[in-house]
């Protein structure tokens, strides 16, 4: 094509499904591990925690999904996908070895430069924990851990069986450089060792106070976000210290197709990560 130096942003990198993990007891969530077919593509796909990509299935279409693997993990990229529509349902029926496309990385990321030297509170609910997992793995990496202050994580799911990345959660629980506050809405498991309750009240009880040196990253279903916001305000978090990742229907993912706009900002390109202060200045059409 003309403009030979221009990278075609519509063209996905070919990838192969290397592994599939069923994450949730109801089988609605699977983690797909992809490896790049072509040498050099992994380097071109260099990403930061909080970015997303378009999973591109020939004949079906594309779906924007947050990157669940971490930039410090090499040799693969991972996405945890909820089975919901045409593309994700098809993806759930694919098998190890199948070839598809991956387009990205897309969007901004969590503001890692800003977060350096700061305490970080992570509040996550349900399957929105994916880019938070990416962030935690990034911060806990031996090369990075000293760059951050205290790390607190409030993570809740409907039941123990719906929690993502259970092995890692257990491992993080045992560490002394991260404070885990795992919770479930309810459980009948007599051996459940962690919290029971919704994310907002657990946040209120367990999360550190806000302040100049503390930022909260919040990612979860709308109802969790709605009730977590006043809790964080009460704990002293300013609106520019509350960082959120938005979702909207997307197609291109790089700011051209027009549908994901929330006012003059595009969720795909100017986001998906915004501070609450920034979001308050938009018409909040998400």
């Amino acid at each position: 094509m003309e403009g030979k130096n221009v990278q075609n942003p519509y063209l996905p990198y070919p990838v192969r499904i290397d592994d599939i993990t069923v994450e949730a007891e109801d089988k609605s969530l699977k983690t797909f591990k992809f490896v790049f077919l072509n040498a050099g593509d992994e380097e071109k796909f260099a990403y930061r925690a909080g970015q997303f990509a378009e999973l591109s299935i020939p004949g079906k279409g594309e779906i924007p999904i947050g990157i669940a693997s971490s930039p410090v993990e090499k040799g693969f990229v991972k996405f945890t996908v909820n089975r919901a529509g045409v593309v994700t349902t098809h993806l759930h029926n694919m098998k190890v070895g199948d070839v598809m496309g991956l387009r990205g990385p897309l969007g901004n990321s969590y503001p890692w430069d800003l977060l350096e030297g700061k305490n970080v509170l992570i509040v996550g609910g349900g399957f929105a924990f994916t880019t938070l997992r990416s962030s935690i793995v990034y911060m806990l990496d031996p090369k990075n851990r000293s760059k951050f202050g205290n790390i607190d994580v409030v993570y809740g799911a409907r039941s123990p069986g719906m929690l993502l990345y259970k092995d890692e959660l257990v491992a993080w629980e045992k560490r002394d450089d991260i404070n885990m506050h795992i919770t479930v809405d309810a459980t009948t498991d007599p051996d459940w060792k962690y919290n029971v309750g919704f994310v907002p009240p657990v946040t209120e009880q367990k999360a550190p106070q806000g302040g100049d040196d503390t930022y909260a990253i919040v990612c979860g279903p709308p109802i969790m976000i709605k009730f977590t916001q006043p809790v964080l305000e009460k704990l002293g978090y300013d609106h520019d210290h509350i960082i959120m990742s938005l979702e909207n229907r997307m197609k291109c993912g790089f700011g051209m197709c027009g549908r994901c706009g929330i006012g003059k900002e595009l969720v795909c390109k100017d986001g998906p990560v915004f501070t609450l202060r920034q979001i308050n200045q938009t018409p909040r059409e998400y």
């Binding site: 094509m1 519509y10 004949g59 994700t88 496309g101 197709c257 549908r259």
Partner: protein
Amino acid sequence: MTLITLDTKSWAAGLTAAADAYRLFGPVREDACHTFKALEKGKTPDLDMVNTRLSPKALIFPQSDIILEYSLDESREDHHIMREVQKDVTPRAVVGIRPCDAKATALVKLNFDAPDVKDPYWLAAYEATTFVGVACDAPLSTCFCTTAGCGPYSEEGLDILVMQKGDGFLAKILTDKGRAFAKAAGWNPASGDLAAFEAGKAAAEKKMVSAVQTDHLEAADLLALHNAPFWEKTAFACLNCGTCTFSCPTCWCFDLQDEVAGKSGVRLKNWDSCMFPIFTVHTTGHNPRETKVQRVRQRFMHKLKYFVDKYKTGIMCVGCGRCVRQCPVNIDIRKVCEEMNRFNPADACAVRD
């Protein structure tokens, strides 16, 4: 800048000669309306029109464009691997484009030719195209280009601007692309009278009867405008048919879709419209712009506020008037612009009971 005077014969002969080096497109009469089409060899564009029903944006941004292709045949080495589709990017020229539509192309370029990411399909088509515009001497009552950052003799986005003068033409060569086209047409430069252009321009501008005021849009508070009380009334009659967005030369929103026949598949880039509920609906069924009021507001806020704030180059409208003429329920962007431009949140509170 070079001027060329042409009689009808040299105009036609020039276009025939240029057709050896360029694929020519121009307005052609089809039934009651004009439309931009490839010109058959020896045919000149039909300039006996005010403007085409649809803008020529499809020449650069086709309504449906195959961008990628792939095979699902697992016996093939490259099955499920997407490939770029090769496009015909040989030189072409759009002859007879109006200045409003040329300016619109320049506005759309802001979207597809962003500093950090480029749409290679749009750009390749744009770069391959020479824009030979014909000035507008008989604007319609719905035209308001002169107050929409454009004008009947506007040169922005054009390589050559031609005015009809007596039985012939006066052409102003504006760019290198324009010079190359004039050379291919065998048009000899440096004969003509700039004063005639100025007179034509002044006369055409004088005929404009319609205007918008946009001076307060940038300073207006975005959220206050978004929450203004007039949107319900503005959207009341809207059918969400999408005619406004499809006929608009500056609307650029698109969809990506896959189509498969047998084992072969393609990915398409298709025009889309913010008027359609499916444009924004989430897989969960949640729709951030569920009501038509929200969608109508989105269209006007995008054109007259978000774009203004984002690019600082004025409104995302060139005043061609197509949406005004073709809206089946007479929603008029000039009136909406007027309401938005004069909106004062304090007044809105005062008159509300």
